[in-house]
Amino acid sequence: MSVTAHPIDLHEAHDHIHPAPQGFIAKYVFSIDHKVIAMQYFVTGLLFMLVGGSFAELIRLQLWNPKGTFMEYHTYNQMFTMHGTVMVWLVLIPLVTGSLGNLIMPLQIGARDVAFPWLNMLSFWLIPVSGLILFSSFFVGAPSSGWTEYPPISIQQGPGGALWSLSIIVVGISSTLTGLNFIVTIFKMRAPGMTWTRMPLFTWATFSTAILNLFATVALSAALLALFFAQVFDVPFFDAARGGSPLLYEHMFWFYSHPAVYIFILPAFGVISEILPTFARKTIFGYKMIAFSSLAIAVLGFTVWAHHMFPSGIAPWLQIPFMVLTYLIGIPTGIKIFSWMATLWGGRIQFTTPMLYATAFIGTFSFGGITGIYLACVPVDLHEHGSYFVVGHFHYVVAGGAVAAFFAGLYYWFPKATGRLLNERLGKLGFWLFFIGLTGTFLPMHWLGLEGMPRRYASYETFAKAFPDAVFWNRFESVFSFFMVASVGLIAFNIFTAIRSGRKAGNNPWGARTLEWMISSPPPYYNFKKIPIVLDRPYDFTAPLPYLNLDEEPDPYPVPSEAVLERPRVAVPVGA
């Protein structure tokens, strides 16, 4: 009906800046600004991390003795269930996708906000609602069947299970909406000149994650809706006596929960791809390989779910394709690892705190990934499923991977968000505490698992009789787990003091080249007064900055600021 006689006036569309929000509620509580929402996700995620971490410490205290008397066994079951649930859905997803993705992705593509800011705000507020529902289950008996809540046991455990299902459905809706938002944002709101292959790699990672967020999380909602109906209305989806099947739940649950682990790790990969070039002062190796491998991992991630179900009674002929596909998914991941190592090779490396976390990530994530390949092999998995080997594996990739990369991103982008630098000494101390703690806690688990220590057991008395060293190693793990607590505590302290009295950061303390470093720290609410024009990829440190129409004209060859360098600034630009 509406025929375009004149070409569409892009100038008018892109230059739309809405008026500033007024009042405390609109600015900080119900804000539609992606940066404020990112801060909200960050605070919420960190609070839940403290809660989930406390549950973990209670677990470690129970495991101090083989026949632990620290907790009732039923309470222990609730502890590991809630620890897993909180960490997976209320910490990892809000922190990694919600806070980093929301804060940085729109800035990196030169946009003023996401595509649907109000929906973004709704996505955030569903997280505290979900937490409320989940924690209210403590009043009626928290769920105690593990974060996977398999039926029939999750149906027999009381009302806590139904509250769990409801709570995670709510988180799922939040995640799905974020995925939708980010996909539309990245497709439609990139700055002029920013083609797909000129996008920063963190944006590629966020895009791949958003695909998973949108499509996989709905499958979780379906699984948990079915579970909820089974728990509350006795609908026999999973009751074998009435034609249902417990295996059906496992299929429906893992069809989401495997892509979920890629939701945790893909943004983490993106963070690493941003940090390594900046602190090696060298262009990223294999940009297209890294970008497309993110997509490959997102797509392949949908095809491997049954590797969590090898001993559950699925047909043997079905185990083999899942095994093969799981091996295959190691390939795009390996491509990234080698590309990162090639990025570091020959670079002028500066070990700031984010760089420490990023390089350590390569080590710990590779280690965790390799133990994953061990588990992908069906005969190995039939032996190791349900043992501490699995626990060691996934904590390496999640804590040593996603969480480590999140901390790297935190140290890297904190100056952008707040305009202050975090204290380097405290940061480095926290880094060492974290990785020493990680190794001490999770490395022995591999050995204990191979020797046969089962997971989710409140007492390992029988195992300790056969393997007396188990007591020593469990106590060893418990001691080192407190190192990680100290590390997170240090990070919190660092953040508090930096916000009040940290050194001023300026626009670009690290001398990085992506668009978010071209605006002030913290950015104004509208991000860019003029939408920049992008001419090339951001990672070539020997070329001038590939942008036109920036608000402030920066140094064409950005270098780290004096506050960051230990020594005075060199007169010759780096890379020239």
């Binding site: 509406s2 569409i8 026999p236």
Partner: protein, 217 residues
Amino acid sequence: MAVESTFGQPSPLLERAAVEARYHNVDALYEETRDMRLFGFILFLLADCVLFSSFIFAYLFLRASAPTWPPVVNGTQIGRLDVAFGALNSIVLFGSGVTMHFALESWKNLKTRAFNVWIVTTTLLGIAFLLGQAHEYTSAPAGLTWSGNAFGATYFTLTGLHGFHVFAGVCYLIVLTIQANRGVYTGSKYFGLTAGTLYWHFVDVIWVLLFVLFYLW
């Protein structure tokens, strides 16, 4: 061309539509956001497909692993669903899809009276479908209950989920009718109507699948 709303009063928004049509002015900001909203809405429909696919997978899985279908309960096999009534109810819903299409076409041609006739017909047909479903639920074959067996579990959950989507659609259509008559949409800016039509078609098409899976297979 007379620029009047349904109730014969001059509508400033419809007047603006006439001006835009005559001078080919395009509101760039609107076009840009409409583009994004449409893309987002299609993504939402695709995600909804995943939701239904998950439950359809559950149905196929349980049916494949059942010794007989429909299952045997207390010694007697549950009867099959009423294909005749199901076919009738289905065509009511598909008819409403066609009437919704006509509603949108009428709006695009600024025929507000025709638009109102078509969208109200769509709404009434949608409500008729829901009443038909209610009748199906209350006259279900003996033994077919939500908590009785896998057949009841999957049938009532899937058709219930679909029925919930139809109900939400009916509510949305009512809101659209009111908003259109209040002049929120113009001849060139009517994304809400486009979205409503796509959603209604989507709900229709899901029902084709459910009808085949539960009634005919």
